[in-house]
Symmetry: C2
């Protein structure tokens, strides 16, 4: 034998793979799945088409990896907030919705690709799986809220599905357009809606003890 894989080579290989996945993610966020042809992705990663197939057996496999990484990040963040955040279940739910929505709004392209954009079959299957995880995370905190008497008895899975769908729907459409300041208001509304959806007691009408956030017309 006159050649063996040395650590530096392996490092370069790993880095190239990383670079490939990152570039592909950027392309997907920018141009959607349909715009992410092997040719384009390879070019973005600064490698040849053939090299792509050194790292992944097929375009589908690469797409799935891209999806998993990005979705994995989001699920992790959301779960963390919902499960191990501070405050009672309601506060955590509120915080979770806000974080989820804010992150999505900050990277609309990627969010759209992950949540809604047309994708090939393999990615579609993965998407179902990850939606299930979003829902599981929401469902858990809803169940906790019910158990603690903060929320009315309900089917937590349906509520969780609704939250996932609702947030996705609100985000998919240019409801807020490219606006940045509108995003804040949108998130606030989304949050209020989410709490109602889970059956949290209404904040304002009950009594306004210490909530000075009345609509003072500030756009």
């Amino acid at each position: 034998m006159a050649y063996r894989k040395t650590p530096s080579v392996q490092g370069r290989l790993d880095a190239a793979r990383e670079q490939l996945v990152d570039s592909a993610t950027a392309v997907v966020a920018e141009a959607g799945w349909s715009g992410a042809s092997v040719t384009v992705v390879a070019a973005a990663a600064g490698m040849s088409v053939g090299s792509v197939y050194q790292h992944f057996p097929s375009k589908s496999a690469l797409a799935v990896e891209v999806f998993r990484r990005a979705s994995g990040r989001e699920v992790r963040v959301l779960s963390e907030v919902l499960a191990h955040g501070t405050g009672d279940p309601l506060e955590r739910l509120a915080h979770g919705v806000e974080v989820f929505a804010r992150r999505a709004l900050e990277n609309r392209g990627l969010a759209h690709a992950l949540l809604a954009a047309p994708a090939d079959a393999a990615v579609g299957r993965e998407r179902l799986e990850y939606r299930r995880r979003y829902r599981a995370a929401f469902a858990r905190v809803v169940r906790e809220g019910v158990a603690e008497g903060l929320l009315p008895s309900q089917d937590a899975d349906v509520t969780a599905a609704a939250l996932t769908g609702a947030i996705g729907e609100v985000l998919v459409d240019p409801l807020a357009g490219p606006g940045e300041d509108a995003a804040g208001a949108l998130v606030a509304e989304l949050l209020a809606m989410s709490l109602r959806c889970a059956g949290a007691p209404p904040p304002a009408p009950a009594a306004r003890p210490a909530c000075p956030s009345d609509d003072e017309g500030l756009r």
Copy 2:
């Protein structure tokens, strides 16, 4: 001239076009947009590939027609119930959600194709438009509810988007599997969730004004 289009010929033509759209709809409901190649659709309609192009200038145009017809039916039914049904806005909202969900569950394949399945760009654009209509219909009744003091002040568009998204999400996944009886329970839960989402007063606890909201541990 020695030939002019006679009514019977025109009738045959129209019938063929109808047949084509219906068959295409069936194929889409069964196999999704990706399974609806021109070849397959033509075969299903009992005509040759070439004839398809006598009725539509392109595959996209046919797909859009299929989408419009099916979605148009749903929007019409939903709007009718929401806008001109009986009862106050809350009752109409409840009824609307139920009708929407029940119809979708009765034809999951088509519902999925209309609401969620990957489709080509033209259909995607159309989908955005129709989602807007669903939302407009929901938003209207929510606004009425707010105006009549039945619902708390809120951004009706966000709530409407949430309802659309929530129902879609609940339907997309095999939450209820192929079950028939489970559908009833699912619709009931969906309905309760929708009312909460819009901020309708809780049904059971409200009825007991004397603050008897004790958690009696029921499940």
